[in-house]
């Protein structure tokens, strides 16, 4: 059986590394993506196979909201679980994110425990790390 696949999108390369590290607590395969346009390209590939999308909001050119709209309107991906992770942290922004169809919203800096709890419905935690 193949591992669940996670697409992690963030325009900041360091934040992308943080996501990659955080996801190592989970049984999954991680695909890193440096921007909104690239994420959309990735998802548009007919052979693409993802079980979870971790999405930054404030990115140049194509924002996370645009990617989210693309996903929700996409025949293949409208049910894909999407977790937004953003530096935008006001209640209004969080509400906007959830209203746009995200399954969960995490604020940066990410809290490790909150991250684990939020992802646990979607991914299985590793029994032993490393």
């Amino acid at each position: 059986m193949s591992l669940p696949r996670v697409l992690a999108v963030d325009d900041d390369p360091l934040n992308l590394m943080v996501l990659n590290e955080l996801l190592q607590d989970f049984v999954c395969e991680v695909v890193l993506c440096p921007g909104g346009a690239e994420a959309m390209q990735c998802l548009d590939d007919p052979s693409a196979d993802f079980d979870l999308l971790l999405l930054d909001i404030m990115m140049p050119q194509v924002s996370g909201f645009e990617v989210l709209r693309f996903v929700r309107n996409h025949a293949c991906w409208c049910d894909l679980p999407v977790i937004l992770q953003s530096a935008l942290n006001s209640p209004a922004e969080i509400r906007q994110g959830l209203n746009a169809g995200a399954n969960a919203y995490l604020t940066k800096p990410l809290d490790l425990d909150e991250f684990s709890q939020t992802l646990s419905p979607f991914l299985q935690r590793k029994e032993v790390i490393y």
Partner: protein, 411 residues
């Protein structure tokens, strides 16, 4: 009867009476002080009044055809004459006559035979009151105009404050993003490192520290940028004057951006062969400007695109020659709405096409413009005909004051 020359500064009195001898008496006694006209019927009076409104009307009551009462009713109903002083001058000395006359809106009522000096005083007083009323009206109109003007000014000031507030809010949001992004790197990796310090291999822990250090540097850059802008605003930012090799400045900045350029698989076409050999400037600050423009181009160009960079010599003088250099960055981003071409160089402003997602605090272009201005240069932006925008910096090779002193000229 017509003896006095017309004097437009004098006030005009219209006598309306069907009996010419009555007109004559009044005419003779008033023409010394006033411009006097007369009419021998109500109809004629109204015609004259329509041509030009007199300052006061002496009106007979009993006339063939239109009566004085009829005339007064029409005058009071007309906006132009509703306030023109009217004195009934009539043979009717009954109390009823006076009652009716005043009831209809006459300002005064004088029965014949009248005492001339008394009539003259009544005329004088009425004219004076009318004059005061006019003055009051003028002042009221002036005041209304002033209020209108002031209201418009206040509205403009309020609009400006609203705009400034919106820009401030946006700035704070961007600032929050710019700080939280590296903080996410620091806190994320530090917390992970603490949890995994015993279990994880050393190389992994070393990578955590790398991310922490790099994120810390980003935060420091942000703080330095803010501090620079603050210094510039307070006028305490100092500029060096040193000989620098312009091509090296560009190469250094491109080298710093290498990771981002590679991450986005961007191609950079760099033309430095035609660049001037030396430039007298603050190398650190001009490097910042070049770095900022290159960074924008990298940030806003989609993956795999080509950024064109050129450094050439040029002449900035009109008339006499001022040797200069021209630095151009052509990106393949989303371009700049024409209406925002000037605004993008304002502090805290960001183009509407980039502000939703790009981050950045909106200080870079404003800071770059100020630095370039300190070097007596120019910075401008325009959209490419096909795609993206071009930013251009023009700098004199030497600050002009220095060049002038060397040649003994004056500014």
């Amino acid at each position: 009867m017509n003896t006095q020359p017309y004097d437009e500064t004098r006030q005009t009195i219209l006598i309306v009476d069907d009996v010419l001898s009555n007109v004559q008496i009044l005419f003779d006694s008033l023409q010394e002080d006033y411009e006097v006209q007369f009419a021998i019927s109500g109809e004629e009076a109204l015609e004259l009044i329509e041509e030009e409104t007199p300052d006061l009307i002496l009106l007979d009551v009993k006339m063939p055809g239109m009566s004085g009462h009829d005339v007064l009713a029409i005058l009071r109903a007309n906006e132009a004459t509703s306030e023109t002083p009217v004195i009934f001058v009539t043979a009717d000395n009954s109390q009823t006559g006076e009652l009716v006359g005043l009831y209809l809106g006459a300002d005064d009522y004088v029965s014949k035979p009248f005492v001339l000096p008394l009539l003259k005083l009544r005329i004088r007083n009425l004219l004076e009151r009318a004059r005061l009323r006019r003055e009051l009206k003028l002042q009221r109109d002036h005041l209304a105009h002033q209020v209108e003007l002031r209201t418009a000014q206040l509205k403009e000031a309020r609009d400006q404050a609203v705009r400034a507030n919106a820009i401030k809010t946006e700035f704070l949001t961007n600032m929050s993003h710019e700080m939280r992004t590296p903080l996410n790197g620091i806190l994320g990796m530090a917390t992970l490192g603490l949890r995994r310090v015993n279990a994880a291999p050393q190389e992994k822990i070393a990578r955590y520290f790398q991310v922490i250090a790099e994120s810390g540097r980003q935060l420091l850059d942000l703080v330095t940028e803010l501090l620079d802008v603050s210094k510039l605003e307070r006028g305490i930012l100092t500029f060096q004057q040193e000989a620098v090799v312009p091509a090296t400045l560009v190469e250094v900045q491109l080298e710093e951006l290498k990771p981002q350029i590679e991450a986005k698989k961007l191609k950079v076409e760099c033309s430095l062969a035609q660049a001037p050999q030396t430039l007298v400037a603050d190398s650190y600050r001009i490097g910042q400007v070049i770095g900022h423009l290159l960074n924008n181009a990298v940030k806003y160009s989609p993956e795999g695109e080509t950024i064109r960079v050129a450094l050439t010599a040029c002449d900035l003088g009109t008339g006499r020659s001022i040797p200069g250099l021209r630095f151009v960055v052509k990106d393949r981003g989303c371009g700049i709405p024409e209406s925002e071409m000037d605004a993008i160089f304002e502090r805290f402003a960001q183009s509407s096409r980039t502000r939703t997602g790009a981050g950045g605090v909106g200080l870079g272009l404003a800071f770059s413009r100020d630095i370039v201005a300190h070097h007596q240069g120019q910075i401008r932006a325009y959209n490419n005909t096909d795609l993206g925008a071009t930013f251009e910096v023009l700098l004199p090779l030497k600050p002009q004051a220095v060049a002038e002193n060397q040649t003994g000229g004056t500014l």
